[in-house]
């Protein structure tokens, strides 16, 4: 029972595959990712199978999620953002299901691994940059020099602006991974106290109940934050404020 609090984040190879010296084994992380993608797809396919004017329970869930995603994109990017809806919504559902599945005991939280969130963040970053250059050409570089800058601070400001732009994928990836990591470590630590304290273990159990509810909120909120920040970056690329 004396488990390390970070034991839960260990990657295990479920199906070892080596291809040309590269380890591309099917791991527990990959399995949960697959489960998240399949569950998200299944929710929408099954919920919308018999569509009704007055939605049933599952159809309501699907509609609320859809409206939430569409509203998020509309509020931040506006009408031009509509063609990116499939990507944004897929990202949201993938992260939402990943975070929520991670809260089920004995599962694995792939969003707690910074390499996973970093890959998603870098993908968003590159995508947004490409969209920006495609839409504005070299004018997109004006993003790094706000209008009305005095010429003698311009070189300094450009460097700072570029750093600020480059820090986007870092902040995006770190926020999600750290939030999930901290929550899960905290729960594991409290669970350790339950056994150590014997009868008084009821206290940490009560704490855990509260923190679990908080983690539920964090799971939804962080999926939302990751997605809305992607939308905000997209808005910057399209409208170039």
């Amino acid at each position: 029972m004396a488990q390390s609090p970070v034991e839960q984040f260990r990657i295990e190879r479920l199906l070892p595959i080596h291809l040309g010296g590269v380890d591309i084994s099917f791991t527990n992380s990959a399995a949960v990712m697959l489960a998240a993608a399949l569950l998200a797809a299944a929710l929408f396919v099954l919920a919308m199978r018999n569509r009704a004017l007055v939605p049933g329970r599952w159809q309501s869930v699907a509609e609320i999620l859809y409206q939430g995603g569409a509203g998020m994109l509309r509020d931040t990017v506006g009408a031009e953002g509509r063609k990116y809806f499939p990507f944004v919504f897929t990202l949201f559902m993938f992260l939402l299901f990943g975070n929520l599945i991670g809260l089920i005991p004995y599962t694995f939280t792939f969003t707690s691994h910074i390499i996973v969130t970093a890959a998603l963040a870098v993908f968003v970053f590159i995508g947004v940059t490409v969209i920006g250059f495609a839409k504005h050409g070299l004018h997109y570089l004006k993003l790094f020099l706000p209008e009305g800058t005095p010429i003698f601070v311009a070189p300094l400001l450009v460097v700072i602006e570029i750093l600020s732009y480059l820090s986007r994928p870092f902040s995006l990836a770190m926020r999600l991974a750290i939030n999930m990591l901290v929550g899960h470590v905290l729960l594991q630590l409290l669970a350790g106290f339950v056994i150590a304290l014997g009868v008084f273990g009821i206290v940490p159990i009560a704490f855990m109940g509260g923190i679990f509810l908080l983690e539920l909120l964090v799971a939804v909120l962080q999926a939302y934050v990751f997605t809305i920040l992607s939308c905000i970056y997209l808005n910057d690329a399209i409208h170039m404020h």
Partner: protein, 116 residues
């Protein structure tokens, strides 16, 4: 997001929702997107802390890489540490002013890049 979809009279409610949706369509066809709401505000608030750390991290990383490349250890790292900190503070400042403007003018969300 969470709308009170139809326990009482779903169809009467649908009329209202249709009207709201049409109003949104008209608005979207016009100019500015609408304000984000509390959830968006909460999201913006959560950005600030990480934004500071990310700025410094990127600065140090770039400085370290440039030092390795040019052999000027440790001077560029020191320089870029401060530049990165400046970028982080600027980002955090933008997040906060963007949120502020959204609250008092009801303007569009996420336009946290226009300054001065």
């Amino acid at each position: 997001m969470a709308d009170e979809s139809g326990d009482s009279s779903p169809l009467g409610d649908l009329e209202a929702r249709l009207r709201a949706a049409r109003a949104r369509e008209a608005e979207a066809a016009g100019v500015a997107p609408k304000a984000g709401g509390t959830a968006a505000g909460l999201g913006l608030g959560l950005r600030i802390g990480v934004e500071l750390v990310a700025g410094v991290l990127v600065g140090v990383l770039i400085g370290w890489a440039l030092d390795r490349w040019l052999g000027t250890r440790p001077w560029l790292m020191v320089l870029f540490f401060f530049l990165g900190a400046a970028a982080g503070i600027m980002n955090a400042y933008r997040v906060s002013t963007g949120a502020e403007r959204e609250a008092d003018s009801g303007g569009s969300g996420g336009e946290d890049r226009r300054e001065e």
